[in-house]
Assembly symmetry: C2
Homo-oligomer: 482 residues x 2
């Protein structure tokens, strides 16, 4: 039956929706509704059906993740190229990239990080190209990757509904053959636990150690984070404490380069950022002071400032250049990784850059592209025919702050999205995120742990250009293999 | 620290409440709020703190449960005494007990049940007597026992909060030494799975078998049931289908004494009643027809009509008579069980009954008692000084429909209840429910399985006389051992 779409009548869909809502509300596939009330929660927006994904394409993503983890660890450890790139980017984005880089430099003692060991929880986002039937890279994320907890649950949800026959009009069959379930929450918890363990072994703390997670205030998607916290406690017995960037200066203290939570004086082994990735989050000097305080101590950062900065799109773009890629990975790895690339151009004065400028301003050619700011965070991409107009208004000396990326011909699928109890029936576009965790030394380049860590599918109406479930459109989804 | 009460300041309590709410909403410790909306759910009402319970008293409850299971199985299998008691009760309560008994008789073929094997999911409710420091029986429940799913979760919740130090003002210690967690949802699921397995072995169904659960319409407490359903599926691969009593006649069919769910023609191995225990649920002949249809087929009932009727308070009362008890359990068992009894009197014309009539009408003595209707379900108990007045209005020939029970001197404790986000600070009274499952043959008396199945604590303000979380007052709680 795989690949086809369930044909449910009105009664069938009603029963499916009822079962889906109660499963979600019983199993923490939840999110605060827009009208916040601490004791009430809504189901998270999800698709009614899992979305088809070619098995081979999916497996390629899993296969290359650890190579990509390594590439980024190598880039960070080598430092030279990354420093150069970030320095250049800082001139175009002094207020954010520039500030992050400045804090990084301030955090060094005698030119070295106080804690050279760094934890990466990375997510590589892909889209399925329907022409090539292959997954193609959209973005490499090095900071604050979301949806670990909800991803596991939406997979379990679709599997449950399938098992009970809700996708079959007559409840007789399991409609889908293969719905893999990501164990993301446990996998990411394992990554944090490995870093905590490393800290305990190397730094010999005298007290209990805890993981500090830096969160955004009033997080509607807090249950996603909570699942990770509960997994860390139940799987590894490691406690996690939460703080906003705003609270760091008054709620932590550093003694002899060790970071402590003031209230309990528990020593912090790992600082895990689920906030602090966008310029809007640094509105006062207190926030920048907090970031420096968090960086300049023995706690292992997830990510360190340098690792966060390695997520610059410029790096991702340059890696599509075979010569550069091969500098960071062996021959075989380079061949595999290259299968996941689309063409990415700089908008500078290099030969490639000049070619890109032409393409971007051409009213026909521009349809093949998306213009992206180098900075992380999403939400500011310029698509297709909007590009020439946007560039026309942008001072030429700002162009280098953007990259031009070939748009993927994304597969669209029939599906339905349910949000706040209401069913929306449209074509969807999906983005597959593959996760990996890596514990490495930014000075020696040693890699202590390097693991796959599950996956995530996010979908949105194909009529909208931007994803982002937390922002109120789009939703969490799960794959079924075809 | 055990036995004492956490002294939290305002900040401490606020943080405790915040962690408690998010844990509940992330882990399905949930209930629909009074204003129903299919996509929104509230946390279930719970206590902020676990409630102390003497270890010895708790262990006695666990220890005697399997003996009690056996006593009731023996009473049902012997039939003679139970039939006599129920026949008498039917004359006082013809509209409900009488009707249930009538349906039971109609369901017999040549004087025998079509399916002699019966599953009991029993709950024995106790209160802790603060004078004796012992638990004393309140009620033996043979039908529709609640809170399997929520009980497990409230234990996990208190354990989580304790582990993270929320009960200590400075987050430094685990305030409570021993918070046992009930695995009720999995234990009850195991009972249902054992019955399903027995059915498959003995009745050799030709198709998939499913467990049919009879539910009340618009159940706010549906998540409690759902956890049992999910445990049954994940632990044993057994599906559960839901139906109201109203839907049974049109949604099931019986062929050659086998019961099927019409939609899928899956054979029903077990009928599990989470409804049908009170007279209000039988408003049309359709409901009585449904009950007869469900009874008169090969599916194993949980409970059978006869087992449901064995829950009559008259039976419980008579068992406090040593001579009767010893007829159903060995010497050693009788001694242990008797430790959990309080004095229960009939209100009939026996010597005991005449004594009870005097006590009940005495304005001083009545303070020691509660008057309970023989019928199941709760909500109609008459307490202490209300008894003489109530009896004065009740025609004398109705008195036999009641029993007079010595009130326990229940331990009250300082605690706080949180309901719909609001914290109530009062003394509470608690009821400890100990669960057991038994699979037995009502004809031969053979017992195939007999197991403990966890526990449950429900608490309410000591100022109110009636429990019942689902009704909007009272809440789920958990014990900590002292």
């Amino acid at each position: 039956m795989s690949g086809t779409f369930p044909a449910l009548d009105e009664r069938g869909q009603k029963e499916l929706v009822g079962a889906l809502l109660q499963w979600s509300l019983a199993n923490g596939l939840t999110m605060y509704p827009p009208e916040f009330n601490a004791y009430l929660v809504a189901h998270a927006p999800v698709t009614l059906f899992p979305t088809p994904m070619p098995k081979q394409a999916f497996e390629l993503g899993l296969q290359v993740q650890k190579e990509f983890n390594k590439v980024y660890a190598n880039i960070v450890a080598e430092k030279k190229w990354l420093n150069e790139v970030v320095e250049t980017l800082s001139t175009y984005d002094p207020e954010f990239t520039g500030k992050l880089f400045e804090v990084y430099q301030k955090s060094l003692v005698d030119g070295k990080s106080v804690q050279p060991v760094s934890l990466g929880l990375f997510r590589l986002d892909y889209m399925l190209d329907q022409v090539k039937n292959e997954i193609k890279q959209i973005e490499f994320n090095t900071v604050s990757v979301l949806f670990g907890g909800l991803s596991t649950r939406v997979g379990q949800l679709h599997q449950y509904l399938n098992k009970l026959g809700y996708y079959d009009r007559d409840y007789l069959y399991e409609f889908y053959d293969d719905i893999p379930v990501s164990s993301l929450d446990h996998d990411l918890a394992r990554g944090l636990a490995q870093a905590n363990e490393h800290y305990r072994n190397v730094c010999s703390p005298s007290t209990t150690t805890v993981v500090l997670v830096i969160v955004q205030p009033n997080e509607r998607n807090c249950f996603d984070q909570r699942h990770l916290e509960y997994a860390l406690l139940s799987d590894h017995g490691v406690k996690l404490v939460r703080m906003t960037l705003e609270e760091v200066m008054k709620s932590t203290t550093v003694r002899e380069t060790r970071l402590y939570a003031k209230q309990t004086m528990d020593e912090i082994s790992v600082v895990y950022f689920r906030a602090g990735y966008g310029p809007d989050e640094y509105t006062t000097t207190n926030h920048w002071d907090a970031r420096l305080t968090l960086e300049k101590n023995l706690a292992i950062k997830c990510p360190s400032l340098l690792t966060q900065l390695s997520g610059a799109k410029k790096i991702q773009q340059e890696l599509t250049n075979e010569g550069i890629l091969k500098h960071y990975v062996d021959e075989k790895g380079a061949v595999d990784l290259a299968k996941t690339f689309v063409k990415i151009y700089p908008l500078d004065d290099s030969t490639q850059g000049l070619e890109a400028q032409k393409l971007a301003q051409d009213p026909e050619q521009c349809e093949r592209f998306v213009l992206k700011p180098q900075r992380e965070g999403g939400g500011n991409n310029i698509y297709k025919k909007d590009i020439p107009e946007y560039l026309a208004k942008l001072p030429k000396d700002q162009w280098q702050a953007y990259i031009l990326m070939e748009i993927i011909n994304p597969a669209t699928h029939k599906n339905k999205i349910i949000r706040l109890g209401k069913v929306y029936d449209e074509e969807i576009l999906s983005e597959l995120g593959i996760f990996g965790t890596i514990l490495f030394n930014e000075d020696s380049g040693d890699i202590y742990q390097n693991d796959n860590a599950g996956f995530l599918l996010r979908s949105k109406f194909s009529s909208s250009n931007e994803g982002g479930v937390a922002a109120g459109f789009g939703c969490v989804d799960n794959i079924h293999l075809v």
